[in-house]
């Protein structure tokens, strides 16, 4: 009998050492769902299967190990532990039943990095043109923006800690760019 359950995951990037006190580290597998629904379809409800959908634009709302990033008026990026993905997707579909919505698994599309340490904001500002002062981009802020020549989704986890998410094939570039920028803080 032929063994068919043989597939294994291979990460998009091999971690590089950043000679800097700003750490740039790939984050392992994670469940990611792109959730789309118009205001009317949500009919004022504040959460969908444990994901908050009443958060402000460009903010991240966390409930337990589930986070909802409000990236557009009708667009959220839901994240959860990789293992929970199917169950989560089920739950969302059930809650949204017979309403117009879109749920697409993008867990493998995206790759995330942790950028952490004093001046982490400067490292990101080497390529991202937006204002990262706490006043304009407080802890919990999350937005799609640009890092040099790649799109990224940027989340501020803490004053000196950011999560950078990009498409799989841009991961090497984004990683390389961040490590290069971190050299200024060796």
């Amino acid at each position: 009998m032929l063994e068919v359950n043989v597939a294994r995951r291979t990460p998009a990037v091999a971690p590089m050492k950043a000679a800097s006190h700003v750490r740039v580290e790939p984050i392992g597998p994670e469940g990611r769902l792109s959730f789309r629904a118009k205001e009317s379809a949500l009919a004022g409800q504040s959460e969908v299967a444990g994901f908050r959908v009443d958060g402000a634009m460009n903010s991240r709302t966390v409930s337990g190990d589930r986070a909802a990033l409000r990236l557009g008026p009708d667009e959220w990026l839901f994240t959860c532990p990789a293992a929970d993905l199917e169950e989560v997707a089920e739950a969302i579909s059930t809650t949204m039943d017979n309403r117009a919505f879109s749920l697409v698994d993008v867990s493998h599309r995206d790759v995330s990095f942790l950028v952490e340490g004093e001046h982490a904001d400067f490292v990101i500002n080497a390529g991202a043109p937006i204002d990262l002062s706490l006043r304009s981009f407080p802890v919990g802020a999350a937005t799609r923006t640009i890092l040099a020549k790649s799109d990224i989704v940027l989340t501020r986890l803490a004053e000196d800690s950011f999560k950078v998410t990009c498409w799989r094939s841009f991961a090497t570039y984004v990683h390389g760019f961040l490590v290069e920028a971190a050299k200024d803080f060796a």
Partner: protein, 994 residues
């Protein structure tokens, strides 16, 4: 060490840190805080270069970034090897550091004896624009003789020959207030703006020490203390404020839209032991709430015969070298001026022990307190005098002056022996950045200057660049700009001057070389000639004479040129106009502007999940957009043609495996998904059943083919769309545009899943046999899962979207697996495929296989000017749908006219001959040029399966000419080919459509 002209004490240099630099091979000694210019002067020499056109000996004119003459080639890290040298550095701003190696430029064989100086003798010929009037005969001589000679003579330094060994950094920053310039006005402004701590303030100054004009001022006091004490206190206060960032060595060079300001910070060049990882320069792109410009002003040279001799410098620069650098620019100085400020230079020179004579064009009664002060200090002052000319060659030896009668007539000349001249023709506010911000300049006749007028952006000017010159007033003006207000007691400044364009002389003005633009060798007579020839707008004069176009961008010369043009025309100065200033304020390295975007970070290289395997297995790659794709997999010694022949055969006889991951994929979800598809694509989608696929064609609104791809309907309300690799981003953008702006009522959502799913294509008669054992939950029987079907299941234990489709004509499957699993699934299938002699193939083989069976590639067969009918795809254009994107354009007269190019096949007479892709097609190769071209070859390959070469072409009325013969261009000439259908291979056995 040997510094004969260094004062025993004083100055701001750090005498505890001596250093030496190399200048034209000899050692110069000095201290931390010196520039190469101050070290050169300390050694007693002024000679620092040769001029651009006439190769005249030139010295040091100024002490700052407006220096036009003393330009050096500098090797910043000679000790580290090549890649650290660059030309045209201003000696006056190169911060001295142990080990710098500097060379003068634009001379041969040496600085002292330069053959090029012959141009100075020929200068009567080399007037403004002379080259427009000659070098026209014989015609061929321009390229071959004249131009090469002119080019060799022109140019300043030598460009770097080797790649740069430095790295450069970039930073985007935001602040509430950006203050440009850390002189008295800027410091005062920053202090006020940051006072309440609520505003983020950035203070940037181009200098390596902050204080601006006060750095050169040893006598003024503020609130009873030496001016520099005030500077130090202010800087200390600013440093203590968390909301303030102070950036020395940072030049604000560009003022762009919406207060986007570009600055370059010099990070490493001045450091003795900078780690190699440290960026040399950092580009700051600052978005500022408001900008306060405190950029100071530039002193104007006086225009008289031979005013360019080494030893002749600006009066305020004399002060700078004496007070800041503790260096005497000579022993005997004549200060020549048309205004008050130069008296400070005379007093400081006197105090430092130089012999001083002062020549002032103004009459006694027009002078202020400065006159009495100077005389009280024992300085001989000749008022109402003009300067006729200077004497000397490589160093000024004297100045010929004469009194001016009240009729302006020249009196008896006297020669004042000297080894140094400090000249001052008044002051020009530095309005460059204000002008870049597109604010309107207003002329102030009182100050003989253009000042900031109506603002275009959130910016204010303060201090000298605002026309305010008195120290106390400058500090108050700065505070006001910063939103505060202060009044300080300060030493009154000597201000006011009498504008003179060219000093009166009795010499024939058409013979006199009195320089306006020192670097470009533009003289007063050049300007007058331009005006005489009808160039009356200052922009015309600039372009005709090149005045103000040198590397100093006319900082010292523009006002003299402008004034001279106005004077010559007898017009008011504003009527001649001012030149608009463009970035950069001072030259900026390409490196700083490029930043990290070099080598691996120039452009992302997008790789698929299977790319590592392909690399290990010897793939030859090709760039496709940002992606790199495996083109073919050569075995030992194979060239592309051999490898492709083997790969294509294998696919048709057994099975091949291909990485199709780069194909664009979009998931279209929502109740109106099918309706949306109907409007975007030319064909109909309503009837497509879930589980089935269909080839879709997409047009631009102008009716030309935009993209294509297989579309799968996963459910009533869910489509999985594929696009071309290059088309993925624009197709998604195109769809979003129509969805949001034309059909917002539709309930549909688009999500890019290109990178979620890696795609492994198995193609060939054995594809199914190989795949089946690894797939669970899928019934492969032809009735359940025929060609052009899609289903979900598991492959190697991971969820997949399995397409039964073919881009080769053979039985084929495209296995979509989550990207992280792709490499292991691929390896598993490849291993298992060994018993079928599976071959991995790349894009080249894919191209050949699809061509054999007549499939087009959008972007290869099409070029943005092809309609569906041109491609023989009218069948895909719905006749029943009332509308879809591009439908209306298809009926425009020329879209349906005859003679359009149509897709056909071409078979060469000689079946081995492979046509050039891009080759042109004619009926009669003997016709005269220009020939009538009928079309071109779009795809062409050697096909091992067809046993001959095959080609596709777009040919005028091609479909009606099948069987006819045409001629196709080859590198040598033409070759004969027969027009055929664009299908070349008749698939045998179990084909895709079985």
């Amino acid at each position: 060490m040997n510094q004969p002209f260094r004062l025993a004490a004083g100055g701001r240099v750090d005498r505890s840190r001596p250093l030496t630099v190399t200048f034209n091979g000899r050692k110069l000694s000095g201290y931390r805080g010196d520039t190469i210019a101050s070290m050169l002067l300390a050694s007693g020499s002024h000679l620092a270069g040769r001029s651009f056109k006439y190769h005249r000996p030139r010295g040091i004119l100024s002490h700052g970034s407006d220096e036009p003459s003393a330009l050096l080639s500098v090797d910043w890290r000679a000790d580290r090897g090549p890649g650290y040298r660059d030309p045209n550095n201003r000696a006056t701003v190169v911060e001295a550091r142990e080990g710098l190696v500097a060379k003068t430029q634009n001379h041969w064989p040496s600085l002292e004896t330069d053959v090029g100086a012959v141009n100075d003798l020929l200068s009567p010929i080399f007037v403004a624009g002379f080259y427009y009037k000659t070098f026209m005969w014989p015609r061929k001589f321009w390229d071959k003789v004249y131009e090469p000679v002119i080019r060799r003579a022109a140019g300043l330094g030598e460009a770097p020959e080797v790649p740069d060994s430095d790295r450069y950094a970039n930073r985007h920053a935001h602040c509430d207030v950006l203050v440009v310039g850390a002189g008295p006005a800027g410091l005062s402004a920053a202090l006020a703006a940051s006072a309440d701590g609520s505003k983020r303030v950035i203070l940037a100054d181009e200098g390596f020490e902050l204080g601006g004009s006060l750095l050169n001022d040893a006598t003024s006091t503020i609130e009873g203390k030496p001016a520099m004490a005030w500077v130090e206190e202010t800087l200390a206060a600013l440093d203590a404020r968390e909301n303030v960032v102070v950036l020395p060595r940072t030049t604000v060079f560009g003022y762009y839209n919406h207060n986007h300001v570009a600055m370059v910070e010099r990070v490493a060049d001045h450091r003795d032991a900078a780690p190699e990882s440290l960026a040399r320069e950092r580009l700051w792109q600052v978005r500022a709430g408001e900008v306060i410009l405190a950029a100071g002003s530039h002193e104007r040279p006086l225009v008289f015969e031979n005013n360019d001799r080494p030893g002749i410098m600006l009066a305020d620069s004399v002060r700078a070298f004496i007070n800041r650098y503790a260096v005497l620019p000579g022993k005997e100085i004549v200060v020549a001026t048309s205004g008050a400020s130069a008296y400070r230079a005379a007093l400081d020179a006197k105090a430092a022990g130089m012999g001083v004579t002062l020549v002032d064009i103004r009459l006694e009664q027009d002078c202020g307190a400065e006159l009495a002060d100077a005389r009280a200090a024992g300085i001989t002052v000749k008022t109402g005098h003009t300067v006729i000319k200077s004497l000397g060659t490589k160093r000024v030896t004297g100045l010929v002056v004469a009194p001016l009668g009240n009729g302006g007539q020249i009196g008896d000349k006297t020669t004042l022996a000297c080894d140094c001249v400090g000249m001052s023709g008044g002051w020009t506010p530095s309005v460059h950045l204000f002008s870049q911000s597109r604010g309107k300049l207003a002329f102030d006749a009182e100050l003989d200057a253009f000042l900031p007028g109506q603002s275009a952006q959130a910016e204010r000017s303060a201090g000298a660049c605002h026309g305010v010159y008195d120290l106390a007033a400058v500090i108050a003006d700065g505070a006001k700009a910063g939103g505060g207000s202060v009044t300080v007691e300060a030493t009154p400044s000597y201000t006011g001057f009498q504008p003179v364009r060219v000093l009166p002389t009795d010499a024939d003005p058409s013979r006199v070389k009195a320089f306006i633009d020192f670097q470009n060798d533009v003289t007063a007579k050049d300007i007058k000639l331009a005006v005489r020839e009808g160039f009356q707008s200052i922009e015309h004069v600039k372009r005709y004479t090149t005045t103000g176009m040198a590397t100093d961008q006319g900082k010292t010369s523009n006002m003299n040129a402008l004034g001279l043009v106005a004077g010559t025309l007898g017009r008011e100065l504003p009527a001649v106009g001012t030149t608009t200033f463009r970035p950069p304020y001072t030259p900026v390295t390409f490196g700083a502007l490029v930043g990290p975007a070099r080598d691996d970070l120039f452009d992302p290289v997008r790789k698929t999940a299977i790319d590592p395997w392909a690399e290990k297995n010897g793939a030859v790659f090709e760039p496709v957009g940002l992606w790199r794709r495996a083109r073919y997999f050569p075995k030992d010694g194979e060239d592309m043609r051999a490898a492709v022949a083997r790969e294509t055969k294998a696919v048709r006889t057994s099975v091949g495996i291909f990485d199709a991951s780069t194909l664009g994929k979009i998931e279209i979800v929502g109740p109106d998904a099918a309706e949306f598809m109907n409007r975007i694509y030319t064909n109909a989608w309503t009837k497509l059943k879930p589980g089935r696929c269909r080839y879709g064609l997409m047009l631009r609104e102008d009716g030309f083919v935009y993209d294509d791809g297989v579309v799968a309907r996963l459910a009533e309300d869910r489509f999985h769309v594929t696009t071309t690799t290059g088309g993925a981003p624009r197709v998604l953008a195109h769809m979003e545009d129509y969805l949001q702006t034309e059909w917002p009522d539709l309930d549909v959502f688009l999500t890019s899943i290109t990178e979620q799913w890696a795609v492994i294509a198995l193609q060939g008669p054995n594809a199914r046999k190989l795949l089946e054992p690894f797939v669970t939950d899928v019934d492969f029987s032809d009735d359940v899962f025929p060609h052009m079907s899609v289903t979900s299941g598991f492959v190697c234990g991971v969820p997949c979207r399995l397409f039964r489709v073919s881009f080769t004509g053979e039985q084929g499957f495209e296995i979509n697996v989550p990207a992280d699993y792709a490499e292991s699934v691929w390896k598993t299938l490849y291993e298992a495929g060994q018993k079928y002699d599976i071959v991995p193939y790349g894009t080249e083989t894919m191209h050949v296989l699809r061509c054999e069976v007549g499939f087009i590639i959008v972007g290869q067969e099409t070029d943005g000017t092809a309609t569906p009918d041109d491609l023989g795809l009218s069948g895909l254009v719905s006749k029943v749908k009332p509308d879809f994107v591009g439908k209306r354009s298809l009926t425009r007269p020329d879209m349906v006219a005859s003679g359009r190019k149509q897709l056909v096949g071409l078979l060469t007479k000689n079946s081995d001959e492979v046509l050039d892709e891009g080759a042109q097609i004619v009926d009669d190769p003997a016709q005269p040029i220009p020939m009538k071209m009928l079309g071109h070859v779009t795809s062409s390959y050697a096909s091992s399966n067809c046993g001959r070469s095959i080609a596709m072409a777009m040919l005028a009325d091609g479909r009606s000419r099948i069987g006819e013969t045409v001629w196709v261009t080859t590198p040598q000439g033409f070759t004969e080919a027969t027009i055929s259908n664009a299908v070349f291979y008749d698939v045998k056995g179990e084909t895709a459509d079985a």
